[in-house]
Amino acid sequence: MSKPLKKPDWLKVPYDPKAVNEVASLMKDLKLNTVCNEANCPNLGECFMKHTATFMILGSHCTRNCRFCNVTHAAPETVDPDEPENLARAARQLGLRHVVITQVTRDDLPDGGAQQFAECLKALHELCPGTTVEVLTSDLKGDHDALDVVLKAGPDVFNHNVEMPKELYSKVRPQARYERSLDVLRYVKETYPNVLTKTGFMLGLGEMDEEIDVLMDDLIETGCDILTISQYLQPSPEHYPLQRYVTPEEFEQYKERALEKGFRFVMSTPLVRSSYRAAEAMEGAKESRAE
């Protein structure tokens, strides 16, 4: 096993143990999971200090085993019927104005978990009126009916991550399919044009610059509005090996390139994650659309 690369200065993050514990215990009390915790997110300290979090529904066990991801791959758990209401209560208690809900991939469920998303949206609309909601879904096996169930429940933003260029899928995300993810984004935009669509990918997995170019072109072709570009951070020595740390300057160049290609809003820095400062991204895209 090769020695881990030395972490650059731009990967230093603040950590306030007290604030982190407050949010963590609220989630525990309400039997909720956050992707912040399950994915070992580098921004957990910053976000929990601001009392914001991204809910992860349908358990903490994922039915896929992507080599870049820290979420546990294990037998799926029973769907909790109280989860939608608990999630809405937590959002109200935290005073969230924009809620992001993601999921573990549930290939075992006929609808991939779409109905639980719809229930969460319903609970949030009832308990937290005026709060905007962003869903960050799996590819839901590319099932348009399942996507309809989620979209008809009225999210403001639909996010689905393509994660990396096509060339890396077989090595890093063998259970996902590049074309299927593009189809998901395209279908949602074509069928629900008023919903903002969003996607993200990582750098540092060994991608080539030309591959990123093709990836951006493919995403723009789906009509995607918002793009996040982030540094891959290897969760453990057992995960897919990090190839390199991309500098903040290079991230800025990719951002400019993405904006030139036509994305309405782009977040591109090493520590950006797909739900990082999600309200800001949504507002930015709305303003750009209004112009």
């Binding site: 972490k7 990967l11 993050v13 950590y15 306030d16 915790n37 951070l233 969760p235």
Partner: protein, 80 residues
Amino acid sequence: MEKEIKMPRLREEMKEGVLCAWLKEEGESFKKGEPLYEIETDKVVNQVEAEEDGVLEKQLVEEGDVVPCGEKIGEVRVDE
């Protein structure tokens, strides 16, 4: 009042951490929210912030030491 600083458990599954750097010298005072020391985890370097105003009395581990979670790494004196 004297208080111990212990290696924090930043994640449920974390068993030990690397103290990469002290950001305050022995005898140096700090304000609540100021970073006191750095802990490296798999993904990032965490700058752990002070929970109250005080003075760093003792650094009990060296930079680069691997320390089990919950073990004493330093002593601080905080305002009553």
